[in-house]
């Protein structure tokens, strides 16, 4: 188990955001959490990253607790989050965005090699290396956000709604990249509203409803589950 979250409770003031949530990811897996707007998906990821404080529960990475650590220390451990809405540094160049992703590393030579590698993998980044990230389209920004997160060479990558606001053809490309990232050895933990995409790419999935995990199954099984199909797949 590379990432494990146990019995997580979390409140925003009086409002309950997470209700006894337990999820995990094994090394090399793609795990998806499916939920509608406001189900608590982003809150779950933010809590794992140390950006929100849970009321109780355990979060551990490779068997060691990371609860209470600062976000930057959690990133150093080998967890990267691609935030909702991509959040590229709009006024910085593409190159500077990638450099920011490599902040925790000091092997400058290899950092430059990685930048070259991702410029090949994402040609648009190579073409726009010295342009401001804010001038790129949503799809291009998503590529940059993925590459930027990869620059830290994470063991596990958390993705917050990678399909949000993107055209279907771009969503397809994003998910192909996610599969490639897994093939290269990075575990993927993603949260999505786009259940169809997320379920077809992931190995296992959880259904999150109003801050509570209601189902935990193999993704294939969920794809064929009638209740899930009605609620999330619109069939």
């Amino acid at each position: 188990m590379i990432l494990s979250v146990e019995n997580l409770w979390m409140y925003y003031g009086q409002v309950q955001a997470l209700h006894d949530v337990s999820v995990y990811a094994d090394e090399g897996e793609i795990v998806a959490v499916i939920g509608l707007n406001g189900a608590g998906k982003t809150t779950l990821l933010k809590t794992i990253m140390g950006q929100e404080k849970p009321a109780s529960g355990k979060i551990s990475f490779k068997g060691t607790s990371i609860l209470g650590k600062s976000t930057n220390d959690i990133v150093k451990e080998g967890i990267a989050l691609v935030p909702e809405g991509r959040q590229v540094f709009a006024t910085l160049s593409v190159y500077d965005n990638l450099m920011a992703g490599a902040y925790i590393r000091n092997d400058n030579k290899e950092i430059q090699q990685d930048i070259e590698k991702y410029c090949k993998r994402f040609p648009i980044l190579g073409e726009r290396l010295n342009q401001r990230a804010g001038y790129m389209s949503g799809g291009e920004q998503q590529m940059l956000a993925l590459a930027r997160a990869l620059m830290s060479r994470p063991k596990i990558m958390l993705l917050d709604e990678p399909s949000l606001g993107l055209a279907p053809v771009i969503i397809k490309e994003v998910y192909e990249i996610i599969e490639e990232i897994r093939k290269e050895g990075t575990t993927i933990f993603l949260v999505e509203q786009n259940a169809k995409r997320a379920l077809s790419v992931s190995d296992r999935a959880y259904i999150l409803v109003n801050g509570e995990i209601t189902m935990s199954e193999k993704s294939e099984t969920l794809l064929n589950n009638d209740a899930v199909r009605r609620a999330y797949l619109g069939v």
Binding site: T71, P83, Q87, A100, G101, G134, Y135, Q141, S152
Partner: protein, 294 residues
């Protein structure tokens, strides 16, 4: 040379020197302003406080040591201000940090008044006194020293922001605290450093200002805040050289106004220039354009 022309160049040179002093105070202010995105009321009182410290230290220690000590102390106070009046209310409504900063400013001002009194004090002129006369034009050495120091600071800080890891991290923090921390950037270690730099360079500007005019007084604080803020807005938020250019233009506008109209108009003309420029270019002359995507 034609006396009118001599007068013009003389005013230009003075204006550049005055503008350079505004710039020095503004570049430090600019870094903190980017982070806060609102007026930092504590900056003015901090740099004057530091200037007073250097004044007292000069009575005991050699002048360079006194100035260095004052700059470092102001840096330390800047970090303390960040830790005590800004960080606890970082996520609060935007008015709250402004008020708590006003509180910090009042503390500094009150301490200064207890220690140094409420009157303006004569500050030693540390700048070279003479001048070089070319074709009737008096080139005062002190003007060139001031312009040189501020150029050095702005070029240094620009390089720092662009080419060092710490500078790049600062740019990320300026754009988004939470995304910066997702890059593994230790924001709570870097933000205090930015405040320290603001205080440090503020005092460099304050010492330059006080030696230029031969006076140090607490009133410089609020004026410094306003001028620095105006310079930053004018030049454009987000870049060091923007603050520098803004400071220069403000200094030139004021000096020409007092040279050709009357010194009573100098502040008004300075602000009219700012309003005019902002009407034409709301992000400031060199401001980074914020791109909002939905």
């Amino acid at each position: 040379m034609n006396p009118d022309l001599i007068y013009f160049f003389q005013t230009l040179l003075n204006g550049l020197a005055v503008g350079s002093m505004y710039s020095m105070i503004a570049v430090g202010y600019s870094m903190v302003y980017c982070l806060l995105n609102r007026v930092n009321f504590a900056h003015g009182d901090l740099y004057v406080f530091g200037t007073f410290i250097s004044f007292s230290m000069m009575q005991i220690f050699p002048i360079p040591a006194a100035i260095l000590f004052a700059c470092l102390l102001a840096g330390l106070i800047g970090m303390t201000i960040e830790r005590t009046v800004y960080r606890p209310v970082r996520d609060a409504f935007r008015l709250v940090p402004m008020i708590s900063a006003l509180g910090a400013a009042l503390v500094l001002r009150t301490i200064a008044q207890i220690v140094w009194g409420t009157e303006a004090l004569a500050f030693p002129s540390l700048l070279p006194g003479g001048y070089l006369e070319i074709a009737g034009l008096k080139l005062f050495y002190k003007n060139f020293v001031i312009i040189g120091i501020s150029l050095f600071i702005v070029i240094g800080l620009t390089c720092f922001m662009r080419y060092t890891k710490l500078g790049r991290a600062t740019q990320c923090i300026v754009e988004s605290l939470s995304t910066a921390s997702l890059m593994g950037i230790p924001i709570n270690r870097i933000i205090p450093l930015i405040y320290a730099l603001g205080g440090f360079f503020g005092v460099v500007g304050g010492v330059a200002y006080s030696s230029y005019y031969g006076v140090v007084s607490m009133d410089m604080g609020i004026w410094g805040t306003i001028k620095a803020w105006a310079a930053v807005i004018l030049g454009g938020v987000g870049t060091t050289y923007g603050a520098f250019i803004g400071g220069l233009i403000l200094g030139l506008a004021e000096t020409f106004a007092s040279g050709y109209l009357s010194s009573a108009y100098k502040e008004a003309v300075g602000y009219i220039v700012i309003i005019a420029i902002l009407m034409l270019k709301p992000t400031g002359l060199l401001g980074k354009k914020r791109i909002e995507k939905v």
